[in-house]
Symmetry: C2
Subunit: 699 residues, 2 copies
């Protein structure tokens, strides 16, 4: 379960009416320790929280992870490191996703191209400063003014490339907090199991339980000195494991939830946005899976894409099914009516906030009208090279502007991450790029119609496939040279990135010229959206958040924002159609589920190890922690702060968690730490990693 960064829309404050036992993705600086104490008799103190915070790291691409040894060993999910593993496979002409990877010593640990991790070091409140900047602003100006203020705050905080600073909008404008991160950019691969066991059961079992997945990859953080990162902030593995009913904490980065949306916005999700995205993902799934029939190489280099598409598809389908469920929908409606009734029946509140729902509904309609053009023109048509071309083109212009006036992703505080992505030497497969761009351009024509001026200009007399073939075959933007540290040192891509606008305008690279040809229209669409929808919506949602605080107080948690959150809960099964689903599975179950045919085929290593492993070893388990996509790779710890599990999924009912938490059935799925140690020791020749983990354990 990964964060679907590109798919998720806005992020809103939580409707407090849903609050139930153990619900909530809490920020570390407003964690309800007293509430936990009341329920479980344990109260996390400041030091406990701080250690967990600093040992938790975020993967820039959209996952969570944790440091689990004093020499920088990092634990995350296999599906969070797939891109690294696939990139390394491409560079070495191997297939490490299929075959697994084990470094026997640090010198065998290869660097993941373009991978970055962030450690959250400090949180501070900047609500007043952000709000002052937009006081009395006209709706159309709101976005620009806020953007400038935020860029300024972030720049002053990120004093060097070592730091990343984000102003995070909590409660959709109820609060603005500044999150300061240490950037960790030298990440190397230590251990990955085979895809077959990391994702045993494949798409059919995804988001299901009982489950039998060793969804783990170990990485290692290296410091600027080229040595393993020695940090005192790590989480030791528990020696005792975990029992049913035991208190559990999950520290990670839930990507986004929409629990605080208004009903008009839920309706937009159910009737417009989700059906469209689901159709697009379905079609992509279709052509990608058939593309894999072209040959082994195509199978290998598109596997990561297909995994991502199927994962998103299943997750969003679950979200849609939740909204399509009459009971769930009824609850969403009821929550809003109760909230509105409280506003309506208090004259002062009504005068101040009475119109906010209608305002948001009107802006939602406007967003619908603009959505297709905006997504098409700002979406790079699904092609990596196209994204590189467009970012390169814009960079030349943006870098000449004052910090506060740039597109947010080009602001000083964010630029390093952008550069890391554009100038990485991750392999690019032109055959796949042609297929992606063909699909993207076909969708462009479908969404805007063949008669739209931009479509006419871009396609001219070509078919999408003809055009995509010419552009991708002709471009040299794939050319990049990096040094041992992963820094770009040469190649056309690097040259163009450093060039000024005049030089780029004179370039004959067909893809760069193509990107340039519609940049004015794309910028205009984005500007229009910011002025007419996003800015005004931010303003209305600030008001909605204030109304919510006025009615429900501040003891509520904000919607997820792909920032560090802490959830508490316990190990517990659930009832499915009258049958209780027990919370644990074991190794024996995996062997029982093996049929020999993908995706129910155990790898040879596991089949060979059958007599060696303890079949009673707990494998996966479930808890009622409140998580969502982006929490993948999160450490699960006990009250001693020791790792007991590795979060990798939610059950099918967890998907509705996007819009509300159903305490009866929403469950987190994790790999048991004993499964990790048993596999490292007995299935793989990786006892040295188990030893490193055991050394870190407390006596």
């Amino acid at each position: 379960m990964r964060k679907f960064k590109f798919l998720l829309g806005g992020v809103f404050a939580l409707a407090a009416q849903w609050a139930a036992a153990d619900e909530g993705m809490w920020t570390f600086n407003q964690f309800p320790a007293a509430k936990v104490e009341a329920a479980y008799g344990f109260k996390p103190d400041e030091a406990w929280l701080k250690q967990l915070q600093l040992a938790s790291v975020r993967i820039a691409g959209g996952c969570s992870a944790s440091v689990v040894s004093p020499t920088g060993l990092v634990m995350t999910n296999h599906h969070c490191a797939r891109e690294c593993i696939q990139n390394l496979s491409g560079l070495r002409k191997k297939d490490f996703n299929r075959d697994g990877f084990i470094a026997r010593k640090p010198s065998e640990e290869p660097r993941c191209p373009g991978m970055e991790m962030n450690q959250l070091t400090a949180i501070s409140d900047v609500t007043q400063a952000v709000r002052d900047a937009t006081q009395n602003a006209a709706p159309a100006q709101f976005n620009d003014l806020q953007k400038a203020a935020i860029a300024n705050i972030e720049k002053n905080c990120a004093t060097s490339d070592e730091w990343r600073c984000d102003v995070v909008t909590l409660f959709r404008g109820g609060e603005y907090n500044l999150y300061k991160y240490r950037r960790l950019q030298d990440i190397r691969l230590v251990f990955a199991p085979e895809d077959q066991i990391a994702f045993f059961g494949g798409d059919p079992d995804n988001f299901n339980f009982p489950r039998y997945d060793l969804d783990v990859t170990f990485l290692r953080i290296y410091g600027a000195d080229g040595k393993p990162w020695a940090s005192p902030n790590y989480l030791p593995f528990s020696k005792t494991g975990v029992k049913e009913g035991e208190l559990t904490f999950v520290s990670g980065n839930p990507g986004g939830t929409s629990r605080g949306m208004t009903v008009a916005q839920f309706q937009d999700q159910r009737d417009m946005r989700l059906p469209n995205v689901l159709m697009q993902l379905s079609q992509t799934r279709g052509w990608l899976s058939e593309y894999q029939q072209r040959g082994k190489e195509q199978l290998r280099h598109s596997n990561d894409d297909l995994f991502g598409i199927e994962n998103s598809l299943k997750a969003l389908r679950g979200q849609h099914e939740a909204l399509a469920d009459a009971n769930f929908w009824g609850l969403l409606q009821k929550n809003e009516s109760e909230f509105r009734r409280k506003i309506i029946t208090t004259p002062a509140l009504f005068a101040q906030y009475g119109d906010v729902w209608d305002s948001i509904a009107a802006l939602t309609v406007k967003a619908q009208q603009q959505r297709k053009a905006l997504n098409a023109l700002e979406g790079n048509f699904g092609s990596t090279l196209m994204g590189i071309a467009r970012t390169t083109w814009r960079h030349a212009e943006e870098k000449t502007k004052p910090n506060g006036e740039r597109l947010p992703e080009f602001a000083d505080a964010r630029l390093p991450e952008l550069v890391q992505g554009v100038l990485s030497d991750a392999p690019i497969y032109k055959e796949l790029e042609i297929a992606k761009l063909t699909y993207g351009l076909t969708k462009l024509r479908e969404d805007l119609s063949p008669d739209h001026p931009v479509v006419k200009k871009l396609l001219g007399n070509s078919s999408p496939q003809q055009l995509a073939t010419v552009l991708i075959k002709g471009t040299r933007l794939h050319e990049i040279k990096t040094n041992a540290k992963g820094e770009a040192v040469g190649g056309l891509r690097k040259t163009l990135w450093d060039a000024d606008a005049a030089t780029l305008a004179a370039s004959t690279d067909p893809l760069l010229k193509f990107a340039a040809s519609y940049d004015a229209e794309a910028r205009a669409a984005r500007k229009r959206s910011e002025e007419e929808v996003q800015g005004p919506l931010k303003k209305q949602q600030e008001r909605l958040a204030q109304a919510r605080f006025a009615v429900y107080g501040t003891g509520i948690y904000p919607d997820a924002t792909f920032t560090l959150r802490l959830s508490y809960g316990r190990v517990v099964g659930w009832e499915e159609n009258g049958t209780v689903v027990p919370p644990f599975t074991d190794f024996a179950g995996a062997y029982q589920r093996h049929t020999g045919a993908e995706p129910f085929a155990l790898p040879t290593t596991w089949l060979k190890a059958r007599d060696k492993v303890d079949l009673k070893t707990p494998f996966n388990f479930v808890t009622n922690n409140d998580i969502i996509g982006g929490n993948s790779g999160s450490p699960m710890v006990n009250q001693k702060g020791e790792v007991i599990g590795l979060v990798f999924d939610g059950n099918i009912h967890s998907l509705g968690g996007e819009y509300g938490f159903d305490a009866r059935v929403n469950r987190t799925v994790a790999v048991h730490t004993q499964a990790l140690l048993e596999a490292l020791d007995k299935v793989y020749p990786a006892g040295h990693i188990a030893t490193e983990l055991r050394k870190a354990q407390r006596p």
Copy 2:
């Protein structure tokens, strides 16, 4: 715009509140001639109606057509004859869909494998007989009792293989009519233009206007004597063409509409059924379009499938968008509240019908629960060979039962059509069949879960692709031999079709064994649906229809049922975003839209003929006739009963016509007869067909 027979669900009575000028798909025996006279000053009489009825023919696969010469020449759409054209291409190793086809004389007209047309000869009312059979029946028995009564009525009517008789449920049980058809089974190909001009603009322009399509194919009906069918019931081409504002009639077979559904059922469509079908079609579209990259042969043999998928996808997407539109939805809700209010405020009606909406809502929920399993087990997993295997297996059992107890498609009156399909020599492409079955089995596992007993039994230790490959490669059910008349005379398929159950049980054909292995479960799922959903729903919908008659009287039209209907209207454009769309296009516009790249590439014949044709020739035009998928190929006639156009599509707003007719924007799209004659004369060497058409004209 074809009938999507396999996609459409139930058929319901019309909500009279939608009624507006020119709206309605009227039956020929209850045509509102007085209403037409009041609006247009012309009153069609009995003879006029009868001639039009008898000259209209239905294509069994899901289209409309008309006889246009005294020697059996039939006009329909190219997209209605695609399957015939593709089948003939396969048999002759040509690509007639791509290159077009012209027979210079009758001896060059090849027979379309498996194609059948039906001429509606008589309509009679059998409401009383059908209703008597189910009087006082328990809900679970309703379906069986009605099925037996209907099979009996149909059998008594269809006295030989020359006839087909269908009891048609109108107003969803408000009336039952017996439709008697002459079966026309020797259909031959006369003329087809190239795909490029028949479907110029392709999927992007589908359901759009302005339009420039020569979407025509001429076929010829042959009699049992092997000679062209000489019938006095044909429609001559008009000599004068048609003007803006002129009265127009469309006679054809709209496949199905759902205007009389309840809001609970609309909700099911919007939130459950349509999103699921749209995702399936999208995924199929994806893999089919990528499958076409395998090579030229694969491109050719899958083109018809891809066309059908994209056509359905766009149509159903339009339906979903209509339901997702807040205004449209509001109108549906308002219609129902008004209807219900009238029932509620009349004590006698309330006592009789007050509970019908809730009953239907409850049955809709039950249908949702059963839908996935039912569709999966009864859907042949999308494979033609699988369908043949299953039908063959069931036939051996069904033919030993009394007529009234068989599955309806095996009843005496329906069996000939079934045989015509199963024993046709239409080519089968095993490579494509493997791909389809792989997809279908993957969906089966996805829909029912890998742990469902049937899924476990069917897949065993195989992946869907492994299993599909073994089954399709191993089966010999593709083996069929036919004589010149298209009758099956040999091959394993024919042998097994004629065999008894014991012989089939002993067969080693892997696909037949596979079909047999889950037939009990499939029958049980169907039975359960009939007893728990379909029967009870029929009963409730009879009551709903009676309630509607009680409130609105009988001067309303029934929802479409893929039976012959007559619509009246006029040539008129519409307003789109404040701009008026004029009703006619001409040849010049087609040349302007030509870019040279598919699907905007005119064929060479047209490029060469540019200087010969009259560029002012009207090409396509729109009217406000009320039609829907299934009306493709319908003749459009003037008040003299002369053909002025060939219906081939609706505009994008027509798609909402599934649920309600929006008179302001819903438009029918037709090919102008002058375009047909000009193209036959000057673009193609087909002047002999133009001559045949002109000979038939009235002086």
